[in-house]
């Protein structure tokens, strides 16, 4: 098992899963849940200011969250696509949270399966994205769905380890006798 070079003893996500795998998992989820013609295009885009995130926590040899973030309007569109004919005329926050959360659940479950286990999967949560604790423990993809930007971030829950302190060797503390 590979360890992050800067974090002895702790698994970091870039050593466990790559962007292509996350992209493939998300793409399959979209086709199955949202629609056969609903592709994710691997092109970065600027997220709008008003975003919504849905995520699930993974707890195991690697602990963190699988977070989907997109514009609120896009999350509502996703909900309509997911529900199809069953979508109510007026979506409320519960509808969007439920549908967007379920997409995060499916993507997160399949990401978890690609990681070393055993791990447990939390229930989906929706709101403001959890903070990135360690920028080196993140695997992030940016895609477009129907031209709108969406980010999938697999991010560790633990802060980066402190840089090991290398004591300065004082010229007079080297034990050398004069």
């Amino acid at each position: 098992m590979t360890l992050a070079p800067d974090a002895p003893g702790r698994l970091a996500i870039p050593a466990l899963i790559d962007e292509a795998t996350v992209e493939s998992i998300a793409g399959e989820a979209w086709i199955a849940l949202v629609g056969e013609d609903e592709v994710l295009v691997p092109v970065p885009g600027d997220l709008p200011e008003d975003t919504l995130s849905a995520w699930v926590d993974v707890v195991g040899p690697w602990t963190g969250s699988v977070v989907l973030t997109t514009g609120r309007q896009t999350a509502a569109e996703l909900t309509r696509a997911l529900l199809g004919d069953a979508a109510p005329e007026l979506l409320d926050h519960e509808d969007v949270a439920d549908a967007f959360g379920e997409i995060a659940n499916v993507v997160g479950g399949n990401v978890k399966a690609a990681l070393p286990g055993p791990s447990t999967l939390g229930l989906p949560e929706v709101g403001a994205a959890p903070t990135v604790r360690n920028p080196e423990d993140v695997c992030r993809i940016e895609v477009l769905w129907r031209g709108q930007p969406l980010v999938v971030s697999v991010q560790g829950a633990l802060p980066s380890l402190p840089v090991p302190h290398t004591p300065h060797q004082h010229p007079h503390q080297n034990g050398a006798s004069q």
Binding site: E28, A32, L33, A86, D98, G109, N110
Partner: protein, 127 residues
């Protein structure tokens, strides 16, 4: 044939129910394992339960164990439909008494194939 669709996501309950209804099932829904047990105890007698794993109150594995502990529900076919796709979890669910395991995301065709393997496709869907 009747199916009880158990999932904490309303969206997923709608998707699974729509697929099953397309195969000719009549469906009811429950939002977690305890609610599903209540439905069974009220006398609803489905042929099939589709069961999510991660749910509040009572999860899918607890529901499977509870059903298998009651001889009155021995004939019930239990199918996990979940995003829990670790091999170890699949083994646990099957060992607890689930008959089949479908990993989300799935297509209606994949669900149909699993039901056919179990001999659980209504006649009109087989023809």
């Amino acid at each position: 044939m009747r199916a009880l669709v158990i999932d904490d996501s309303r969206a997923m309950r709608r998707i699974v129910s729509a697929a099953l209804e397309g195969f000719g099932y009549e469906t009811r829904q429950a939002g977690h394992g305890q609610e599903a047990l209540d439905v069974l105890q009220e006398g609803y007698a489905p042929d099939l339960c589709t069961i999510d794993w991660n749910m509040p109150v009572m999860d899918g594995l607890q529901f499977v164990s509870a059903v298998r502990a009651n001889p009155a529900w021995r004939a019930l076919t239990l199918m996990m439909v979940t995003s829990e796709s670790e091999q170890g979890q699949i083994v646990r669910a099957l060992a607890a008494g689930a008959h089949e395991y479908v990993i989300k995301p799935f297509t209606a065709d994949a669900l149909r194939d699993k039901l056919a393997l179990l001999g659980m496709l209504p006649e009109e869907a087989v023809l």
